[in-house]
Symmetry: C2
């Protein structure tokens, strides 16, 4: 029975990777760089985006957002105030209330994403530290947001998520002085799980460190461009 389960999981991930490659081809054809943004619920993904997207247009990067949620469009509504194209993708209807985005869900939303008009597509995944890390969607880079209110042990408890990403944003550092939280212990644990991964301390609330994140996003299309 166990072996059957493993086989099924492998088949599902194989099928997902095939569709992720098709997404990737579409993104490449339109010259769009894609980021998969992941975190636990409430770690501050949307607020960080609100902060970071403000300056990206000035940096000459045209951004679009694909907003993944089980239900509702609260984050999409917030982000559309920034006048970037936002597409809502809900996982409850037709997918059975999924706790993550997969390549096929993203593919189903692509006709609504103006790929011709953007350089960078940010996909905000469903808030969850487990399954989103297992499903590639055709992205160039994966970012995870980890809030200092969540505990220093999270990289050790959810290693796949921390291992899967190219950038870890340690958010809500404005709260550090009110918490019994050892940010260096968190960073040590991140380093243990994903040695050398880029890390940034940020506060979506005060804006501290957000410029570094914005620069990272602005330079991503250049960094990931196919060598000529």
């Amino acid at each position: 029975m166990h072996r059957t389960k493993v086989r099924v999981v492998e088949d599902v991930l194989d099928a997902n990777n095939t569709i992720a490659r098709a997404n990737r081809d579409d993104f490449d054809r339109h010259g769009v760089t894609v980021v998969n943004l992941m975190s636990a619920p409430g770690a501050g993904k949307t607020r960080l985006l609100e902060r970071a997207l403000e300056g990206l247009a000035d940096a000459g990067v045209r951004v679009g957002v694909l907003e993944g949620d089980v239900q509702g469009s609260f984050d999409a509504d917030r982000l559309s105030a920034l006048h970037v194209p936002v597409t809502q993708l809900n996982t409850d209807g037709g997918f059975g209330g999924e706790c993550h985005l997969d390549a096929n869900m993203v593919r189903s939303a692509l006709p609504s994403v103006p790929l011709d008009e953007i350089d960078l597509l940010i996909v905000e995944n469903v808030g969850n530290l487990v399954c989103p890390a297992e499903f590639r969607i055709g992205e160039d880079a994966r970012i995870m947001v980890c809030s200092v209110t969540e505990g220093e042990d999270k990289p050790l408890k959810y290693p796949l998520m921390f291992r899967a990403c190219e950038l870890v944003l340690v958010n809500k550092i404005d709260l550090l002085e009110y918490l019994d939280f050892d940010v260096e212990r968190l960073e040590h644990n991140i380093e243990q799980i994903n040695p050398g991964v880029t890390r940034m301390r940020v506060s979506a609330r005060t804006g501290e460190g957000v410029e570094g994140f914005r620069d990272w996003l602005a330079q991503l299309p250049e960094r990931t461009a196919a060598p000529v």
Copy 2:
């Protein structure tokens, strides 16, 4: 394809409910009341338990804990310092890294739980606001912990979780004065999704409100006892 997916999901949940009933029979036979404790990662489940379990022995309630994690035994190690029997259940080996506990996983752990020696079994689920709410494990009551650092919109974004529980603990209220967070808006949203559900404001850090949670747990075996 959509209809097939729905059918598969229904079959999985049916099979889960059958095993949940078998768990329930075992719990009843041993006179054990069972709580399924759920939250997003880092909402403070373990620290709340550390606080609440301290006084439960004095109240004459013998407690055991079944600790669900994808990987590791960090929380179980913390809780065993309280000298209650703690059983670790990892979802990575044999289950493919599941993001939730289901009835079968709990069933597989029961031989390691001293049901004869406890009155109340607290099952700490994997940190996740989606899938844990879909799988009954044979519990008497479901509790969710919602931290004030997570945002007021969480009941609207993860309605199944908030609808599934008999008690909502609003945790980390010691941080309220440092946050742009409207706790009454959160409570209004909880009430919209699950009208009349019992709510408590608590701080696992300062201990505020934890006595009410402890009393709720202590009285649960009596409240859920089968009528004679």
